[in-house]
């Protein structure tokens, strides 16, 4: 056969033994045509448009999954940031739109719908203020709605008024869902340099310059990368490790693109991007932490972690970029603590701390993600954490994000479980020293010189 037996068995091994899967197919839908002055009518039109365009998403994904034998774990929808298209509504309450977005998601059979979003990197306009004020209730009263707020960019600097506000919003969302460990916060991301075409939740939205409707794919497969490194053994040099990661990343990106294109073709929508991110799940063998340890660390979180992650993140990008011209989204390695069994375990053991995670965000594609913190963490401290990670993103011209859950009534060392893909993890200790005076100053951290690149 033109493809060798060895190659065939390698692929079969990746799919059947190493958890190669397509993490998500996400349909991006432009909701600008739904804009209007009556919020209830906008909400209804939003629901109708999503149902019309995404009606077959789950069915088609199921068929492609059956045909190719590679699981498509999640089917999702991302929409135009609500703060953008609801701006013409004569109301100070966007809640009806939240309910209709959630209803559409439920009836479509998808697990998340992203786009309860505002972009406020320079200033907070009226619509954005409304959206942000509505976040806690919108998340508390829905199951599938995901929210994000972009508070900074390399070009604009960091909006510290928005950062101060988001610390309070996160606390409020946690309080409203105290009975589920503050779970609303698992669907809320605060970004710096948010990307316009991210297919992963909770930060997905259909951004600037996107088409009416398109399909993107988010691949994954940390298990395949770990298996490849383990096959190399413990003594080969790091160049070889990087090469192997690159090769495996090429392969999984190709698989993802093929599946994504086929889904797009059957749905009759344009194919958008492949997000070649290594995204873990709590399932055994599906951990990014395991990959870092396979590179040669006793415990992820110890010395060498940031360097290993830098090698991994870059190798993933290289392989992916060779595999496709449609790379986009976040494209790198994700480090969500509760969603990664090994990271959660090391955090519980005290080997992985928040300060190390902050360093790691400077070399990977996401940020401080799915981190449970003590319920009594102050809003100003949460804002400080957001500002720190935003500064890393702003200065380094990359995306960073914060998704922290201040679990009401919980203290450092306790455990919180969210279930499903959101996983479980320890409550991580946060420094007790206050930054309230800095946060209360408000204003903006100005754009760095890196942003003045014309």
């Amino acid at each position: 056969m033109a493809i060798s037996a060895e190659e065939i068995f390698e692929t079969l091994g990746m799919v059947h033994a190493q958890h190669l899967d397509i993490r998500t197919v996400t349909m991006g839908i432009d909701l600008h045509p739904c804009a209007g002055p009556d919020v209830r009518q906008v909400a209804r039109q939003t629901y109708e448009r999503i149902m019309r365009l995404a009606g077959n998403l789950v069915k088609v994904a199921g068929e492609v999954e059956a045909d190719y034998g590679i699981p498509i774990v999640n089917k999702r929808v991302s929409v135009t940031p609500v703060a953008w298209f609801a701006a013409a509504c004569r109301t100070d309450d966007y809640h009806p739109i939240a309910l209709e977005l959630d209803r559409a998601a439920r009836e479509l059979g998808i697990d998340f719908i992203g786009g309860w979003t505002a972009t406020v990197e320079k200033d907070l306009n009226t619509s954005s203020r409304t959206l942000i004020r509505c976040i806690p209730r919108a998340l508390a009263e829905t199951q599938r709605l995901c929210s994000s707020v972009n508070i900074g960019t390399t070009r604009a600097g960091i909006n510290m008024d928005a950062v101060a506000l988001m610390g309070q919003v996160i606390k409020e969302a946690a309080e409203l869902t105290a009975d589920t460990g503050g779970s609303a916060c698992a669907r809320l991301v605060v970004f710096c340099n948010a990307v316009q075409d991210n297919p992963f939740m909770a930060g997905a939205f259909c951004g600037i310059g996107e088409g009416d409707c398109s399909l993107s794919v988010g691949i994954s497969g940390p298990g395949t990368v770990r298996a490849a490194i383990q096959t190399l053994g413990r003594t080969c040099d790091l160049l070889q490790v990087a090469e192997e990661v690159k090769r495996v990343s090429f392969k999984i990106t190709r698989a993802g693109e093929l599946i994504g294109r086929e889904c797009a073709r059957r749905l009759g929508v344009p194919f958008n991007i492949v997000d070649l991110s290594l995204a873990p799940t709590p399932a055994p063998g599906d951990s990014v932490g395991d990959i870092i340890e396979a590179i040669g660390l006793d415990r992820v979180g110890g010395p060498g972690t940031t360097a290993a992650l830098a090698l991994l993140n870059d190798a993933v990008k290289r392989g992916g970029a060779m595999a496709t011209n449609h790379a986009g989204g976040m494209s790198g390695a994700f480090i969500p603590v509760t969603e990664d069994a090994t990271m959660a375990r090391r955090a519980a053991e005290g080997a992985l701390v928040i300060e190390k995670l902050e360093a790691m965000t400077s070399v990977c594609s996401v940020g401080l993600d799915m981190i449970v913190i003590p319920g009594d963490t102050t809003p100003e401290t949460i804002s400080g954490i957001i500002a720190d990670d935003a500064a890393i993103g702003m200065i380094n011209k990359k995306t960073t994000a914060v998704r922290v859950i201040p679990a009401p009534g919980k203290r450092a060392g306790d455990t919180v479980s969210f279930g499903g893909l959101l996983g479980a993890g320890p409550v991580m200790a946060v420094s007790p020293h206050s930054c309230a005076v800095m946060i209360r100053r408000g204003g903006r951290i100005p754009a760095p010189l890196q942003g003045l690149n014309n």
Binding site: M1, A5, E7, I8, K251
Partner: protein, 118 residues
């Protein structure tokens, strides 16, 4: 060899290479790879090919090897003329595998091409 004979030999070789390449290229036909792995004993191939025949699946290529006790077989199968659905075909093969203590894995061919060719 005279020039004429050389040219003729080259021509035959070129045309044979093209024929083989065409035979292995998917073109417009839909093909799947069926892998069968298990403990070697008589009747494995017969059992699987019987299911192929029953569903009118066209076997395009087969390769097999037996290492110690382990039997592995790869078949390239055209499914355009399948009698019934692909889902039913796949299900019957997998059920056969469960009954006979064989791993039977079915994967569309284009996945392998996409993953293993630059």
């Amino acid at each position: 060899m005279t020039t004429n004979k050389k040219q003729k030999a080259t021509g035959v070789l070129a045309s044979r290479a093209r024929t083989l390449a065409d035979a292995h290229r998917s073109q417009s036909s839909t093909r799947v790879v069926v892998a069968v792995i298990g403990r070697d004993r008589p009747g494995i191939m017969a059992g699987v090919t019987a299911i192929m025949a029953a569903h009118n699946a066209n076997i395009v290529d087969v390769s097999q090897s037996i290492m110690s006790d382990l039997f592995t077989m790869l078949m390239l199968v055209e499914i355009d003329g399948l009698r019934g659905t692909f889902a039913a075909f796949k299900k019957e093969l997998e059920a056969h595998g469960s009954r006979e203590d064989l791993s039977i894995l079915i994967q569309r061919e284009d996945i392998f091409r996409a993953m293993h060719r630059v």
